[in-house]
Subunit: 196 residues, 2 copies
DNA sequence: CGATGAGTTCAACGCTAGATGAATTACTTC
DNA sequence: GAAGTAATTCATCTAGCGTTGAACTCATCG
């Protein structure tokens, strides 16, 4: 059936491999997303993936590259009354992850849960790209910033785990706005309440 | 050096395999904990593991069997003033996971994050063994119980992820009592506050 | 038309994994 | 002490992984 050699026509195979890879990394995480499976889903030989991206890790980095730039989101989440920042954070997080663009973020998170290399990538990214930017505007005492932001991280990570990884109902399919009003105030408390 | 055949003396190899397995599953999760590595750490041939436990999945079930029985813990966590239940929950959770007995729970959780089969096991276990017992005593309106308990689960799961899996400081090495007083009230809010 | 190069597949290597069946050694019982 | 059974290892099978180098086919440009 499928002959060897170049295919007729002009198709951007490289991009379609990237799309399949993003989806697959998000569904299975770094380790279980095999290059062979990605190639198969893209209708392509595994060797072609290496031809374009070199190694599996470079492919992962390429997948992460494009869609994650918190440069726009963070200010957007911060704009608004200070005492509703918690709600806005949850609302924005959910809208990002539920969107197609959030697939990369989910891939990153899922991978970080079981792979040391991607876990380091995520820590690095979260700390330098998100926490440092967001937290300095929200937390008054800079000395308390690391603890407070890590506490915020527990609630947000837990929401991701329950909604997207474990898929525990009714949170898995709950309305984002309901979740925002329920969880937001708890985020707010991590930001504001005194650390006994 | 190491000859074939039965070893001299009376040693309970089966049990020591189980201990190594529990530790290994907790550290690496189901998928990355290889039978070969477990056997190696236990100073034993991989085939012996199969001889005792049949398959990797049966070994995992055996590991889970003994130490997880919430029959005693739950009432203990519930005993006390109603309005401090949140703090007691966090305090107890941390004391369980930090203890050697909590290794199995950690193994279960870690595995569930990347393996579908263990994720189903965990959902089943959490829902039938923990939530149903604990929540009926804490949540007034039974209609709200599923959502409220799932919200509690987000905060607790997030704490596990940040403290034990991602090991994000300062939560990773924070004093349990501090975490309890910081996080407990948020749990309390999930239990009590009206669901807007 | 012919050459060059990019796109693509083929076949294979080296590795790790879970699993299996036969062979080897020790303990137990009569 | 011989028979039988339990504990243990050995060698091996099958399957999947990431990766590599060579071979093949098409598009493009002179």
């Amino acid at each position: 059936m499928k002959r060897s050699g170049r295919r007729p026509g002009n198709q951007d195979t490289r991009t379609s491999i990237l799309e399949v890879a993003r989806r697959t990394f998000a569904e299975k995480g770094f380790d279980k997303a095999s290059i062979r499976a990605i190639a198969g889903d893209a209708g392509v030989d595994p060797a072609l993936v290496h031809h374009y991206f070199g190694t599996k890790e470079k492919l992962f980095l390429e997948v992460m590259n494009a869609p994650i730039n918190p440069g726009e989101l963070i200010p957007q989440a911060l704009a608004g009354p200070r005492e509703e920042a918690g709600i806005r954070l949850i609302r924005m997080a959910l809208s990002v992850w539920d969107s197609p663009a959030g697939t990369a973020a989910l891939a990153m998170f899922r991978s970080a849960l079981s792979n040391e290399w991607t876990a380091r990538l995520l820590r690095e990214f979260v700390v330098t790209q998100i926490l440092r930017r967001a937290v300095r505007e929200l937390i008054v005492d800079p000395e308390e910033a690391p603890l407070r932001s890590a506490l915020v991280a527990t609630q947000i990570a837990g929401l991701m785990v329950v909604r997207y990884v474990l898929r525990l109902e009714p949170v898995a399919s709950a309305d984002p706005e309901l979740l925002a009003t329920m969880i937001g105030p708890n985020i707010q408390r991590f930001l504001d309440e005194p650390l006994d």
